[in-house]
Amino acid sequence: MNLDLRLDGSGDFYARKFQPDLRKDRLILNMGPQHPSTHGVLRILLEVDGEYIVRAEPVLGYVHRMQEKMGEIRTYPQYLPNMGRVDYLHALAWNWAYVGAVERLMGIEVPPRAEFIRVITCELNRIKSHLLWWGAYLLDLGAFTPIMYAFADRERLMDILQRITGSRLTFCYYRFGGVSTDVDQRFIQEVRAFCHDFDERLKTFTDLVTDNVILRSRVEEVGEITPEVCRDYGATGPVLRGSGVGYDVRRAEPYSVYPRLDFQIPVYDQCDALARYLVRMDEMRQSVTIVLQALDALPPGDHIHPLAPRRPCPPPGDVYFSVESARGQVGVHLVSDGGESPYRVKLRSPSFSNLSLLADVAEGSLISDAVSTLGSLDLVIPEIDR
């Protein structure tokens, strides 16, 4: 029986390139692309010494769908649905980044009502995304129940958004110059009721899970990411804010009506998984505040600019528009040659940068800690591969 468990000779291109060269008693562990804690088809090659990770290397591209190339061969409106599929958990942020880029390039004005509707729906989507992360992360840590609690609230949000946007997950709601459908009184009532109940729910989550001693020991001082590492890899979002840097696109490069709303940017400087956890929990609370303010300030008027072009042909030039998604800075760089479809679309996805630092952080940690760190980065694999 061959008990040499190293992948010598066998394995694919990446595995062969990843051979241990110094010591023979180390194990190459192929984590993924089918692994319960990588949430999708992420693959990480690990060189482990016992349970300690010596080297880690993410292997990407298993759901590469040529999103950027598709942008070049489709007209501007045809490319809209793609945005919901880049990051399916916070689809509206990508919606926004794309329509925002086109609007900026063409100088389309967005009616105030549409801006507020965008803020409300985008923040609801952020809560939805964070809820799923919360459940899935605790599943990674071996707690089976929280995801059911998270899904109860997530389900409610999906029902609310479905009636307005027409979809439950991969939204395609924003249009150049506004949103596709106006919100009605029932939507406003439902969102208010949700916000009211959700405050209580967040307290329950904190009592049941956040203060649990086993959870604390699994996330405290685990996966420490220094601000320098964040800067090196371009990490943004809760990962960066968990490292003590208060960078949020909604504040740093304000867009839409965010400057008119009063909200905090939660920042924790412990740099560990718990800090990122708490940032997201606080962000959900902040999103509720934003939604309530936006509902109060929701002005009457058009939900889409009456003169918004249905088949836009932006003037030649290039533009960059970025928004804050649940995972960090989402950016769309658009180059137009004046035609009906973009000359080039570059998507800047936060998950890609956030994943890249894993190799650095996982080195020397236990496999369990690497799983905890990986979960705390809140990755969406289609967004990484695009």
């Binding site: 061959n2 692994h35 349970e51 071996g142 707690a143 089976f144 086993i214 020991s217 699994r218 369990s368």
Partner: protein
């Protein structure tokens, strides 16, 4: 006829058959109970489609497992690979032989009952080690390695927490330990040995690989741990064995600390089963409530807290008895 088959042998064989039936039946009940408890905690109905209240769900699950292909990985050591699940379940009936279910319901009344049980449940480590080793799968190997260090570590406080009861009663005979306790909760050993009970219960969770100590099969880290490669009844037998070990661990706890079959009103096997099932449900609540601990934390808990605490408890008990 009686010369060829001594009465003792017939009793033991009949007992073994009854015990296997008991284990199988309890396996079904526990699968159902586990899913209903999970449903209760997660605020969903749990199984309710198959049969009235979903009562036939475990049967359907079992049928599904039986119907599946028995898959052997290409590089696996075939003999060891299929020996492992059998070896995992084999010690179960032996361990259950010595447990007094009721005043007149014990297969083997021997004076080393406790030692017999502790010795035989230790064999499970070997089975899991073989499963992990022979699967030729790295996750399985890591799971097996975790299981060995975990079981070896937790065996010590387990023994240390059982010994005070032996000191108090002066016997290893489970029947006598049961009979020595009264009908009411304040006459049970849990009152005099609460620390030992808590330590025993924590160790029992770790020994039976139940959450939050289910590291050998931590699915978010090691996919399925030692039984990653097992399909169909290979997995099914491991699954049944896990439940059987839970029953054994809870039965021993009921005998040692909770008065065995004694209870207010009429004493009998119903009290014993009630206590065992109470402990099993507590175990299930743990599983569906807590996150999993990390491996080093698991061992730290054992070496830094449980072993010293159990030792001190044992010494104090010994001193009190000596005085």
């Amino acid at each position: 006829m009686m010369d060829i088959f001594p009465t003792q042998l017939i009793v033991v064989l009949a007992g073994l058959a009854a015990i296997m039936a008991f284990v199988g039946l309890n396996g079904l009940v526990l699968v159902y109970l586990e899913r209903k408890v999970a449903g209760f905690i997660q605020r969903r109905p749990g199984p309710y489609e198959v049969g009235p209240y979903g009562l036939l769900q475990p049967l359907a699950d079992g049928l599904k497992l039986v119907g599946k292909q028995m898959f052997t990985p290409a590089c696996a050591d075939k003999w060891l690979y299929w020996l492992a699940p059998i070896l995992s379940l084999a010690p179960v009936p032996v361990a259950l032989l010595a447990i007094p279910f009721g005043p007149n319901l014990q297969v083997l009344d021997i004076n080393v009952g406790l030692v017999l049980i502790l010795a035989f449940i230790g064999l499970n480590v070997l089975a899991i080690c073989l499963a992990g080793w022979s699967s030729q799968n790295k996750y399985a190997l890591l799971g097996a390695a975790r299981n060995i260090s975990q079981s070896v570590a937790y065996e010590i406080p387990l023994l240390l927490s059982v010994l005070p009861i032996v000191f108090i009663t002066g016997t290893l005979n489970l029947y006598e330990i049961s009979a020595g306790q009264g009908a009411w909760p304040w006459q049970w050993h849990i009152l005099t040995q609460p620390v030992a009970f808590v330590i025993y219960f924590i160790c029992a969770l770790a020994e039976t690989n139940r959450a939050p100590f289910d590291l050998p099969e931590a699915e978010s880290e090691l996919t399925a741990g030692f039984h990653t490669e097992y399909s169909g009844m290979g997995f099914g037998v491991f699954f049944l064995a896990e439940y059987a070990y839970m029953i054994i661990a809870c039965s021993v706890a009921a005998v040692l600390f909770l008065g065995g079959w004694n209870g207010p009103g009429a004493a009998g096997w119903w009290w014993f089963l009630a206590k065992v099932y109470f402990l099993l449900i507590v175990m299930m609540f743990f599983r569906w409530t807590y996150p999993r601990v990390r491996f080093d934390q698991l061992l730290n808990l054992c070496w830094k807290w449980l072993i010293p605490l159990a030792t001190i408890n044992l010494l104090i008990t010994a001193l009190v008895i000596a005085l």
